[in-house]
């Protein structure tokens, strides 16, 4: 019994020594620390996967805060501490950069608008055309990014949108379509994919000309430190990149 115990103890000791030296190698010069990431709601799911990966690899705590981009910007402007910010549009990121609260590193992904109809297409929508106005069309309000893109795409395709409702977020639009309350809606491809069989997706002509961009901002700093870089790598390369593409994001 004693022998087994001492064997166990030495194995444990050996393991922990190995773990320590491993850490020392990786941290070389830069200690890893706990970080906070604020991320646009549409990327919340993948951010949580990346969080789990990084926490396991580095043995740190990552806090992921998910909300609408403007809510996140408002929180940072109100003084909330965070390390990395990913917004769903350039305008919100610029708000933080212009306020000298951060530095933009990369554009990590783009998304594009599509037409969604409830399964079975009850109103017989034929595409991004006049048939949408004949049905109960639900779009984002011009005040929010998806509404801004909707309006620009309509102009580009010589169409005037006549919605019955202008919602405050893309998820609200999607909810109206999946519940069957609305006949046709304009949402991002990733949201449409997430709805699965509840909706049918129709592509919008020229949608790639007005993509929705996801810039990454390092808050209150000019460059990423080792921990921030580790999180960025986990999020934007390898499995992380794959997760984004699986959801329908286009990655550079």
């Amino acid at each position: 019994m004693k022998k087994i115990l001492s064997l166990g103890a030495s194995v444990l000791l050996a393991l922990s020594v190995a773990a320590c030296s491993d850490d020392a190698d990786e941290a070389s010069g830069d200690e890893h620390r706990d970080i906070t990431v604020m991320i646009a709601a549409s990327m919340c799911g993948i951010a949580e996967s990346a969080e789990a990966d990084v926490e396991e690899d580095l043995g740190i705590d990552v806090t992921t805060v998910c909300a609408g981009s403007s809510d996140l910007a408002a929180q940072i402007e109100a003084g909330n501490e965070t390390d990395i910010l990913i917004t769903a549009n350039q305008k919100t990121a610029d708000q933080i950069i212009d306020g000298d609260r951060g530095t933009q590193l990369d554009m990590i992904a783009t998304n594009e608008l599509v037409v969604v109809v409830p399964a079975g297409n009850p109103a017989g929508t034929t595409g991004f055309d006049e048939s949408m106005n004949a049905a109960d069309l639900v779009v984002c309000a011009p005040q929010v990014p998806c509404g801004d893109v909707s309006r620009q795409l309509a102009e580009l395709n010589d169409l005037t949108l006549e919605p019955v409702s202008e919602e405050g977020s893309v998820t609200d639009v999607l909810g109206k379509i999946t519940s069957g309350q609305g006949d046709v809606g304009l949402v991002y491809r990733t949201d449409a994919n997430a709805a699965g069989d509840a909706v049918e997706v129709i592509d919008i002509p020229k949608s790639e000309e007005i993509p929705n961009q996801y810039p990454l901002v390092i808050v209150d700093s000019e460059e990423a430190d080792a921990t921030e870089q580790a999180w960025i790598d986990a999020f934007t390369t390898g499995d992380g990149k794959q997760r984004m593409e699986d959801l329908g994001f286009t990655t550079p």
Binding site: G68, S70, A74, P118, P122, D136, V138, A141, Q143, V144, P163, V164, S165, E166, E167, G168, D172, G175, K176, S179, G180, Q181, G182
Partner: protein, 248 residues
């Protein structure tokens, strides 16, 4: 004392943040006027419906005793304690365009989806319990002895109702109605989920505040001031109701 701070500080903070100089201009803007119009119209109708349906319900409930009364009371209170989005989902599941009743109504030519009717339905659903419960509580505590005396003196049940019970419940009715109206005015989640949001048709003040906050926090704050002022009026009305209803 800390309690007072916890409750009042955020309001004070909002008042300090308020763009006072621009308030008149913002409140007369198209956005504000449209939202105000939609809110006032729907709230007026909703409050009326709350009274018309709620008063008989409260009178009925106050006379029920035992298990039945208990169950009814729980049922009536539920919309009041549900998260507003859940209330919206419940309405959507029942009256949605492709749901049970919604589809039937649509065949009859009544389209609720994305209409002011949907806003009113959302407001009534979440606000009526406030009127019913406050009125019922007051009826229960005041009514019995007076009504019994009236009955033993030979008054008919309807005479008792109109000459004894109803006058006695006026203060509670006023405060209950004010509460329900305030709840209608502030209704957000159920409206957004069930009725959508379109300027001039379904976009009430709370929905406009939520949207304006994205681009123009000042307008959002000025609109919030409208709700704050109305809240103060309602609270003072209910306070008066309580004073008057104190048994002499």
């Amino acid at each position: 004392m800390l309690g007072v701070l916890a409750l009042s500080l955020p309001i004070v903070g909002m008042l300090i943040d308020m763009p006072w100089a621009q308030v008149p201009e913002i409140l007369t803007s198209e956005t504000a006027m449209q939202a105000l119009g939609v809110s006032l119209r729907t709230v007026a109708i909703s409050t009326l419906i709350c009274v018309l349906l709620g008063v008989p319900l409260a009178v009925f409930m106050s006379r029920l005793n035992g298990k039945g009364g208990e169950l009814l009371r729980i049922g009536v209170t539920i919309p009041m304690v549900l998260p507003p989005v859940v209330a919206g989902l419940a309405l959507l599941s029942t009256f949605g365009k492709r749901k049970l009743l919604g589809e039937q109504l649509s065949l009859l030519g009544i389209d609720i989806a994305f209409s002011a009717t949907a806003v009113v339905m959302a407001q009534v659903f979440v606000a009526m319990p406030f009127l019913v419960t406050s009125l019922e509580a007051s009826l229960r505590s005041n009514r019995t002895s007076h009504a019994q005396i009236s009955a033993t003196l030979g008054a008919s049940p309807s005479y008792t109702l109109f000459h004894v019970t109803l006058p006695m419940m006026m203060p509670a009715l006023v405060s209950g109605t004010a509460l329900a109206a305030a709840r209608c005015l502030g209704e957000f989640g159920a409206t957004l989920t069930f009725a959508g949001s379109l300027e001039g048709r379904t976009r009430t003040i709370p929905l406009a505040i939520y949207l304006q906050r994205e681009v123009d926090p000042d307008t959002a704050l000025a609109l919030a001031l409208v709700l704050l002022v109305l809240a103060v009026i309602v609270v003072s009305l209910t306070a008066r109701g309580r004073v008057v209803s104190r048994p002499s």
